[in-house]
Every structure is written in structure tokens, then in C-alpha cells.
């Protein structure tokens, strides 16, 4: 049986681990370790390998949910991770110094994968920092020639993460119909 996966990526503290937990059927396998570098300014522990969750589908199929490690020094893993992926979920932390720079970085890093599949962007921490606004994200994306879904997301909320992943699926196939 084929193995399919959805990749969650984004900078440190954007909520990748939490988002995977929100929709995973099994408790996600976390590979967090105590932060010892610049990361410790943002969170006490961080993902040093990758997070893993799974969604069990009817008919026995599974969708694997992989979260990339946030730190850039692990970016050698990203190509391996995306192999066989059906799409990318990019989570951005709106409280970081320059979320647009983060966005551009990850979109560039995954550009080939995105070109072959699709990307959906979730902006977290908007309740803490409402700027930049979702409209401003779209303006930035327009300069890159992209029109992906961009939603405000609370990674702890199943509904938010669910809608974000649904938008990814509809981006891949607008004719898609659920039961």
C-alpha cells in the first residue's frame, strides 16, 4: 500500500509539533531536546530531528504527518522528507522579528516541492501580534507570484489546522468532494 505524507514546516516555535498533534490519530512522536542555541530565546525545547503523526483513513490507508526541525542546520533533511509528500503546510510565527523573511526563506527552500504540489500557510500567534496582517501576507506573496491559502491559525485548535489542510487539498484539486 502506498505511503503518503503531508509536510509541516516553518521556523522555530511556529507550532508545527502542536499542529500535527491537533490532527494526528496517534500521539505524535516528538524528537524535542532542550534548546541550547539561539532557539532557547523562543522556547525551552525544540525539535531536533522531526515530528511524526499519522491519520488513519478508511480502507486502512494512512497519511503520515511530518514536521521538519525548525533549525536551518537541519535543512539537509528537507529534501528527504518531502519525497512522496502530497503538499506542504507552512506555519509562520507572527511574533518573530521578520515573518515575511521567514516566509520567503521556506517558500524558496521548498520551491520545487511546492511547484509540484501545493502549499497552505498558517500564521500563528496573531492574537499576540496582529501585524503583519493576513492581507499583508497576501501582498508579499503576490510579489512572488503565489496565491496560496493564508489563514490565521491557532495550532492547538483542531478546526484551524483541519481547515488549513483542507485548503491544501482543494488547492491540489478544486473539484474534490467529501462525503
Amino acid at each position: 500500500m502506498s505511503q503518503y505524507k503531508i509536510i509541516f514546516t516553518g521556523p522555530v516555535g511556529a507550532g508545527k509539533t502542536t499542529a500535527i498533534s491537533s490532527i494526528s490519530d496517534a500521539p505524535p512522536v516528538k524528537t524535542d531536546a532542550a534548546a541550547s542555541d539561539m532557539t532557547k530565546n523562543r522556547k525551552s525545547s525544540t525539535t531536533v530531528a522531526m515530528d511524526y503523526g499519522v491519520m488513519n483513513l478508511e480502507g486502512g490507508e494512512k497519511i503520515h504527518l511530518y514536521g521538519t526541525p525548525g533549525q536551518e542546520r537541519f535543512d539537509f533533511m528537507w529534501d528527504i522528507l518531502t519525497n512522496g509528500g502530497i503538499g506542504l503546510v507552512l506555519l509562520l510565527d507572527n511574533t518573530r522579528a521578520d515573518p515575511f523573511q521567514d516566509m520567503r526563506f521556506f517558500l524558496e527552500a521548498f520551491d520545487k516541492f511546492i511547484a509540484n504540489t501545493a502549499v497552505a500557510i498558517g500564521v500563528t500567534q496573531m492574537d499576540v501580534s496582529s501585524k503583519p496582517s493576513i492581507t499583508e501576507y497576501h501582498q508579499q506573496l503576490q510579489t512572488l507570484g503565489l496565491k496560496p491559502p493564508v489563514f490565521s491559525v491557532d495550532a492547538r485548535e483542531h478546526n484551524d489546522v483541519s481547515l488549513l489542510v483542507q485548503s491544501l487539498l482543494y488547492s491540489l484539486d478544486p473539484g474534490l468532494v467529501g462525503e
Binding site: Y4, I23, M55, N56, L57, E58, G59, E61, I63, I86, S130, S133, I134, H138, L141, Q142, K147, P148, P149, V150, F151, S152, V153, H158, N159, D160, S162, L163, L164, V165, Q166, S167, L169, Y170, S171, L172, D173, P174, G175, L176, V177, G178, E179
Partner: protein, 393 residues
């Protein structure tokens, strides 16, 4: 005088002074041949309300809250069509009253066929205006239109809870191509138009504005992109659907106010994001119609995805957005390609239009070629399973 072999229907009377109460009690026993007997409200099967009573709206609201499953019969001098209610016009005719009461009883579960709807509120507008605002397909009257009743049932069965979001209109048959072309609404004739205009003024001036009308004041804060309104969504939905007349327009005013002072004493939970507010206000104004400013023959395009995690999600909104972002299309092309009701497309483009994220193609080149139909993904089956999983959780 009681009809032989028939058990009287237990009814409770509301909005009647003691004399009217007694008269109705005797009327049910006499001319109505005992079809119903007046009982205390706790024991009643049907509530009968004099809709001409001063606080009839409040009574109706209370009854709906306290006994939501109990059928309600309204009596009024004016012809009323209010959702989830039955109606008999005053002066009451025994034959008519008997027929309606019998009909209510013979309907095993009348409420199941009728979507939950907001109560009538005392909004300070005429009963006629309230009547216009209430979706009429879900109304049962002494002389119901068989066609309207049938279509209501079909609609409710097919669309489930989404009907409550869009509202319904009995004066438009969306399956009729000719009527479909005319199924538009003018935002300027509704509260929506005034809110959109006030928001533009607030942004242009950079000052908080207070929009006054015959309803509740609406405060618009351009700096935080918020509005403040002391009303819940049910009330807003009713008022959104009311087509405003000259009386309303004459009482509209817009005042610049000091943001800091105006926020003092305002309930924190009444603040809403302006986009979220305008989106739902538009959907409840549209009720499945398209904006009059949109030409149905020309393609529309979407500037970007709406922020769906924070907006009222209408039926098939994500599919419409995804398809529209691939290529501009006419609203009816969208409905045909996705095999969905035009009302869903109309409600969606109305809301996007209000948020200014929808445009209409003007260049002749845009009409030269019909956009290709997107090919289904080879993984469509898998995607459907994921979708079902996400929605089922």
C-alpha cells in the same frame, strides 16, 4: 359542542388581556367546536400569540427559548409570514382557525421540517419590514403555497444546517434561469451598504465612526479594524435581511467620535473584527443572491483566499475559492463546474465582493477563451478520504 371522538388540543394563550383571553377561550369551545381547550402554559401543545400585542416579539422569543419544539400560532390583523410559525389573520374565522390547528396536530413533527430561525425582535421597524426580512419559504400559513412548502422541504433535507447560514427566499426560484439572472440584491438598500460606506469613511479619515440608525449604534474603529455592536448574531441576521426604506435612510447618521472615550464602558465581548463582521453581514443580506454590481455574464476573479479559519464558512466556499484562484469564471460557470447550487456561489462572491477581494474581469480578452476545466487529481480518491477524515473528527 365538542366534536365527538376527538381529543381537544391543549393550547396556551399569550399577548391577550383578560377579556380577549376569555373571548378566545369561549370561541375555541363554541364556534370552533371544542377543537382546543386553553390550559396553563406548562401543559400546552401549541402556543397561540396575539401578534398585535405590544410585546408580541418578546413573547415569541421567550416561547421559542422555553419550548422550542412547541408549534406557535400567530394571530394578527396584518398578514404575517414569520418563520417557524403558523398564522391566522384576525378577525379570526372559526373554520380557518380549526383548519390550522388540525393541520398543526396532524403534522407529526412539524418542527423537524423547519430550520431553527431567529425570533422576531422589537427592532423599531414596521411589521411589514420584519415580514420582508424573514425567509418566507419556511413559513406555514393558513393558505400555504404547495410549491413553497415542497421546495422548503427539499432544501432543508439537502442542505442541512447550511440553510441557517444563508437564509432562504420564497420569491426567487433559483432553478428558473430567468429568475436566476435577476436574483440580485443592492447593498445600498440594506444595513450592509451603510456599514461598508461608514467603514470607508472611518478608514479615509482615520477616525472612529459611530453609525446611527433606527437600530442599535455601530462603532467602527479603523485603527484596530474592529466594530462594536451590542447585538448577537441572531438579531444581526434579522436586521441584515431587512430592505431599508426612506424612513430608515432618513434616520441614518455617521458621527466621528473619540476612540478612547467611545471605548469606555463598552462590553469587551461585543467587539468584532471588521472583516468577520462584514463577511457574515453580507451573507445574511445576500441570502444566496448576488450583488447588483456584479454582471452575471462576466467572469469574476479572486484576489486571494479569504481567511476561512475566522470567517463564517458557507457551503462549498473552499471549493469555489480554489477554483476561482485557478482562473476567472462567471458565477454560473463556477456553479456548473462544481455542480453546486448557484446560491452558494452567489453568497460567496457577495461576501468576497464586500471584503474587496473579488473583482470582475473587464477586458474583452478575458471573455475570448473559456478557461479549461481543471483535471481531477489522480489522487482524488485519497484526498477525499483525507477530507472526510478531517471533517469527521
Amino acid at each position: 359542542m365538542k366534536r365527538q371522538g376527538l381529543v381537544s388540543i391543549k393550547v396556551a394563550l399569550y399577548g391577550m388581556d383578560p377579556r380577549s383571553h376569555k373571548t378566545m377561550e369561549l370561541y375555541l369551545k363554541g364556534p370552533c367546536r371544542g377543537i382546543a381547550e386553553v390550559v396553563p402554559e406548562a401543559d400546552a401543545e401549541i402556543d397561540i400569540i396575539d401578534a398585535d400585542f405590544a410585546t408580541a416579539g418578546e413573547i415569541l422569543q421567550t416561547r421559542r427559548q422555553q419550548t422550542p419544539e412547541r408549534p406557535i400560532l400567530l394571530l394578527s390583523l396584518e398578514f404575517l409570514k414569520i418563520e417557524n410559525t403558523y398564522f391566522v389573520q384576525k378577525p379570526v374565522n372559526a373554520e380557518q382557525l380549526t383548519a390550522v390547528l388540525s393541520k398543526i396536530v396532524s403534522s407529526k413533527k412539524p418542527k423537524q421540517l423547519i430550520e431553527p430561525e431567529q425570533p422576531v425582535t422589537t427592532l423599531g421597524v414596521s411589521p411589514a419590514a420584519i415580514q420582508d426580512a424573514i425567509p418566507q419559504e419556511n413559513t406555514d400559513t393558513a393558505n400555504p403555497s404547495p410549491k413553497a412548502t415542497k421546495s422548503r422541504k427539499t432544501f432543508a433535507n439537502n442542505e442541512g444546517g447550511y440553510t441557517a447560514f444563508l437564509g432562504t427566499l420564497s420569491d426567487i426560484d433559483f432553478s428558473d434561469p430567468e429568475q436566476l439572472q435577476r436574483a440580485s440584491f443592492d447593498a445600498k438598500s440594506h444595513l450592509l451598504g451603510y456599514v461598508l460606506s461608514a467603514f470607508k469613511v472611518a478608514c479615509h479619515q482615520g477616525k472612529t465612526q459611530q453609525l446611527n440608525s433606527i437600530w442599535k449604534p455601530i462603532l467602527i474603529f479603523p485603527d484596530t479594524r474592529q466594530i462594536w455592536l451590542d447585538a448577537d448574531d441572531k438579531q444581526l441576521r434579522v436586521f441584515a435581511g431587512i430592505e431599508q426604506n426612506h424612513t430608515f435612510a432618513g434616520k441614518i447618521s455617521l458621527l466621528a467620535v473619540d476612540a478612547a472615550i467611545s471605548k469606555i464602558g463598552l462590553a469587551a465581548d461585543k467587539f468584532q473584527d471588521i472583516d468577520v463582521f462584514i463577511w457574515k453581514l453580507t451573507i445574511w443580506t445576500s441570502k444566496g443572491r448576488f450583488p447588483a454590481s456584479i454582471n452575471l455574464q462576466q467572469a469574476v476573479y479572486l484576489k486571494h483566499w479569504p481567511n476561512f479559519t475566522r470567517l463564517l464558512l458557507t457551503p462549498d466556499a473552499m471549493r469555489i475559492a480554489a477554483l476561482l484562484l485557478k482562473d476567472p469564471r462567471t458565477p454560473l460557470q463556477l456553479a456548473n463546474l462544481l455542480n453546486i447550487k448557484p446560491q452558494y456561489v452567489f453568497a460567496f462572491i457577495s461576501a468576497c465582493n464586500s471584503l474587496d477581494i473579488l473583482g470582475q474581469c473587464q477586458r474583452s480578452a478575458d471573455f475570448m477563451v473559456v478557461p479549461e476545466v481543471p483535471k481531477p487529481s489522480k489522487k482524488q480518491n485519497l484526498f477525499s478520504k483525507i477530507l472526510n477524515k478531517l471533517r469527521g473528527d
